[in-house]
């Protein structure tokens, strides 16, 4: 028996790592990965809560999160490619103008 809160704390740590990655990292792709990390942390809490409350809809939500994450990463990575093509850099600190 593992307390539910352990799972939640683990998910919280993952989420916090994701946020921290967003703040620390300069590479757009890594920042993107941080977002995925946050989503994973949320998924873990979904599944943990599902187990806690014996409600399978928690697991179903994970699927939706995954689908959205997949769509988001496809579009996001396409944007990254477009950005790299026009700016020649992946450093977010150098991509701070809306218009070139």
């Amino acid at each position: 028996m593992v307390p539910l809160s352990y799972y939640l704390v683990l998910s919280g740590i993952l989420f916090a790592c994701g946020v921290a990655g967003f703040l620390i990292k300069r590479n757009i792709i890594t920042i993107f990965m941080s977002i995925e990390l946050m989503l994973n942390g949320v998924n873990l809490s979904f599944v943990a809560f599902a187990a806690q409350w014996h409600a399978l809809s928690g697991q179903v939500f994970v699927f939706f999160v995954m689908v959205v994450a997949a769509a988001e990463s496809a579009v996001g990575l396409a944007i990254v490619i477009a950005v790299y093509r026009t700016r020649g850099t992946l450093n977010v600190d150098q991509v701070d103008l809306l218009k070139l």
Partner: protein, 177 residues
């Protein structure tokens, strides 16, 4: 007891992967750390009984999304991250904010750790039942997400496709090769 050990081992792997993601300066290392995180998360899902979710986690996240990341990293030949000082705000407010927030949440959660606990395989999520839920209770969201995915596909194609003139000049080269 075994449950706690397995949970702790893979939880630690998870956290280590996540921290490695932050520490590594090369994006491909970060990506691989993320794959590790996802893999150990799949194990955690298995511990909770969500076998289908675990499998899908591996297939979709590790097998598709992260491959896409690696692919883009390879395509753009992304190098080691430069350390530019772009944002004081992120350092002054953001990092403390994250720390405070996560510590607070963890504190609150651990204060109430006695309220609930889960056993191994607490809630089995067999594919059949989950499929039933998806196609009955969640039919509308399911269809909406399918539309979302379609839009995302088209958006990705449009965004990543070359401008017309580049494409024209690129095509003959391909034929020669």
């Amino acid at each position: 007891m075994l449950h706690l050990i397995v949970f702790s081992v893979f939880g630690l792997v998870c956290v280590a992967g996540a921290i490695n993601l932050l520490v590594q300066r090369h994006p491909i290392n970060s990506a691989l750390s993320l794959v590790v995180v996802m893999g150990s998360l799949a194990v955690e899902y298995l511990l909770l009984g969500a076998e289908f979710v675990a499998a899908v986690q591996v297939i979709v996240y590790a097998g598709a999304i992260m491959v896409l990341f690696v692919f883009v990293i390879m395509l753009l030949n992304a190098g080691v991250e430069e350390h530019t000082k772009g944002s004081r705000v992120a350092m002054l407010f953001g990092i403390p904010g994250v720390l405070i927030g996560s510590v607070l949440v963890a504190w609150v959660l651990l204060q109430h750790s006695g309220t609930g606990s889960v056993a191994v395989g607490a809630l089995p999520g067999p594919p059949k039942v989950i499929g039933w839920l998806l196609f009955h209770d969640f039919l509308l969201p399911f269809e909406v997400t399918s539309v979302l995915v379609l839009i995302a596909i088209m958006g990705a194609v449009v965004l990543a496709s070359h401008p017309a003139e580049v494409q024209q000049s690129a095509q003959p080269d391909e034929r020669e090769g």
